[in-house]
């Protein structure tokens, strides 16, 4: 199996606090991966390291076998797109102007966007279902609309690896379903996906691999069936088994399957 991105024994500290320790991740080409874990367990840090915007203290990050630090920024930006949780703009940029920034890795300093850039922007706006918002001011959009615009910005980069930090944040259940459909569509197009997800209901049937970050533990990975066991979730999320509907539901499911 060929790996698009590999994090090997990655370690990261922030102001003396160990955020990631010995994280090893292999992202296969075209795979759809969910990243789960407690708040503050290092999900965002791992995504930033995978995107190349943060350097690990130790360990290595390789993109198609090449060390990340040797890859020119623009080349990396044409391969990996990170959709962060937050985007605040100080000026009144329209949605279209924001999404056009996704073409930065393809546009030279002196050359304006060409036909292919405009088509890629239109396509990204359409895929994220924000074509109708293209002339709206980004700062005036709702949280859910902003979320979709950020995804469009990532898609305008035409990446091979899409990293999404809490993409379902601020989305109602209808838009969550649309987002999952979009992820399936992108996966079918051969794009590798790594998304940090809080809502574990969305993880079960929609992702091929689950990566679990637990405090003080090395990163664990496996299929949803392996990783969403109540015993694992109880420990990872430090949650009593009878206190959360998801854990009760999963325990019931596993009991039925065992019978």
């Amino acid at each position: 199996m060929s790996y698009l991105l590999r994090l090997d024994g990655v370690h990261f500290d922030y102001q003396g606090h160990k955020v990631l320790r010995q994280a090893t991740v292999d992202l296969a080409e075209g795979s759809c991966n969910a990243l789960i874990g407690l708040n503050g367990s290092g999900k965002t840090t791992l995504l930033r390291i995978a995107a190349g915007v943060l350097r690990p203290v130790s360990g290595s990050v390789t993109l198609r076998g090449r060390p990340m630090e040797t890859i020119p920024l623009k080349e990396a930006a044409r391969t990996i797109a990170l959709v962060p949780q937050q985007l605040e703009l100080p000026f009144a940029f329209t949605v279209q102007q924001v999404v056009e920034q996704g073409r930065t890795p393809y546009i030279g300093m002196l050359r304006g966007p060409g036909r292919s850039d405009r088509m890629a922007v239109d396509r990204a706006l359409d895929l994220a279902d924000v074509s109708g918002l293209r002339h709206r001011i980004f700062n005036e959009l709702s949280g859910g609309e902003r979320q979709r615009v950020k995804i469009a910005l990532g898609l305008a980069q035409q990446p091979r690896l899409l990293l999404l930090d809490e993409p379902t944040q601020n989305l109602d259940i209808g838009r969550q379903v649309e987002l999952i459909d979009l992820l399936h569509f992108l996966r079918d197009e051969g794009i590798t996906i790594l998304a940090s997800i809080h809502d574990l209901h969305l993880v079960d049937k929609n992702f091929s691999t689950v990566l679990l970050l637990s405090p003080g533990q090395p990163l664990a990975s496996g299929s949803p069936e392996q990783m969403l066991k109540p015993s694992i979730l109880e420990r990872a999320f430090q949650c009593p088994p009878d206190r959360h509907p998801l854990l009760i539901e999963r325990a019931e499911l596993y009991r039925r399957e065992a019978r």
Partner: protein, 367 residues
């Protein structure tokens, strides 16, 4: 292989288009065509130049100026002296000052993602004042290439201060923008108030008068050499800024976002600070301390055209020149024969105007 460009309807989300009310979907920030605005501003610049040349203690009608330009009617010796040795250099200098301040304001506001960033907030003004104080106090008779020691030391002060502010804000290979703004503000206040000590030790009072006019922002009558060098420097800085305008649009998303889009953030920041400092220094060396122009003009341009820096660059340059030419013409005529420092006039007119804009156009400054 990149994502193939497919037809619009192939996306899973396309079928879920929301019904956006047409009146909402048509709301745009860019209200004017940039080309139309540039043509309009270029014509306005020509008109304002003519009006500024014609206006003064000795009026020379625009018709006379036109007739002289096309060789139909020669100017009298006095008119020639007033026009070519007094008014034209000053009008051109005010245009350069306006363009320099507006362009540096545009660059700094975009770079620091902050609508209040301008050459004076981030410390280059304080450094320029300090340099000018040294020039006025110790090297008042010295000049080279048409530049007085005051102008050159103001330039050096601005550049050294920016380097100091920048180094204070650097940590672990990155620049903290908030630290940079706060450090710039603190150094600006410290250096601005240092002028008091130079005033204290000036026994003759001559330096104080020069310093006072310089601190209030008075556009002098520069030599043609100084004008030529200033024009060349500003043109050079503007040409160097051109390819960075698209980068500024990306930097507005934030450092990390820009980096993951392939921008070398630290290099871009250094280039933009250098170019902005050069523009500020050109303006300061010709007109002293003129506040508000670098703040107001980019905002007005943004309100007219939207926030795209590529479109804003020529518009800010033209609008800045027009604004300062008009302001300086008013400053030298409104209380004639006395002259109000243009910096004071702009502060009194520009401050309320800016507050009015903020109050009425809050939408465009949403953070």
């Amino acid at each position: 292989m990149a994502i193939e460009i497919a037809t619009v309807s192939s996306s899973p989300a396309a079928s879920n288009q929301q019904g956006i009310p047409p009146e909402v979907s048509k709301r745009e920030t860019g209200k004017l065509s940039p080309v139309a605005l540039i043509v309009l501003l270029t014509a306005a610049l020509g008109l304002v130049t003519l009006v500024s040349l014609a206006t003064g203690a000795v009026p020379i009608s625009p018709r006379t100026i036109f007739a002289a330009m096309f060789g139909h009617e020669p100017l009298s010796e006095m008119q020639r002296l007033i026009l070519f040795h007094l008014r034209l250099p000053r009008v051109l200098a005010s245009g350069l000052v306006g363009s320099g301040l507006a362009l540096s304001g545009l660059l700094f506001q975009g770079l620091f993602r902050n609508p209040i960033a301008d050459p004076y907030v981030i410390g280059s003004s304080g450094g320029a004042i300090f340099g000018a104080c040294i020039g006025i106090s110790f090297f008042s008779q010295w000049s080279t290439f048409g530049f007085s020691a005051t102008a050159l030391l103001a330039f050096a002060g601005s550049a050294v201060t920016m380097a100091l502010v920048y180094s204070l804000a650097r940590s672990a290979g990155k620049t903290n923008v908030v630290t940079l703004l706060l450090a710039g503000f603190a150094i600006s206040i410290m250096f601005t108030n240092s002028s008091y000590f130079f005033e204290l030790f000036d026994k003759t009072g001559t330096g104080n008068r020069v310093l006072a006019s310089w601190l209030h922002g008075v556009i002098g009558i520069p030599s043609w050499t100084q004008l030529a060098v200033s024009t060349a420097l500003l043109a050079l800085a503007t040409v160097a800024a051109l390819p960075l305008m698209r980068t500024l649009n990306t930097l507005v998303l934030g450092d990390e976002y820009a980096q993951q889009l392939g921008i070398r953030v630290e290099s871009a920041r250094v280039y933009i600070i250098l170019i902005g400092s050069l523009m500020t220094a050109v303006a300061v060396s010709l007109g002293g301390m003129i506040m508000f122009a670098g703040l107001i003009v980019p905002h007005v341009a943004r309100l007219l055209l939207g926030p795209d820096h590529v479109r804003l660059l020529p518009v800010a340059a033209l609008a800045g020149a027009i604004f300062l030419m008009l302001a300086d013409t008013l400053a030298r005529t409104i209380f004639a024969p006395s002259e109000v420092p243009v910096g004071v006039l702009i502060a009194f007119v520009g401050g309320p105007f800016f507050l009015y804009l903020l109050r009425n156009m809050k939408r465009s400054y949403a953070v």
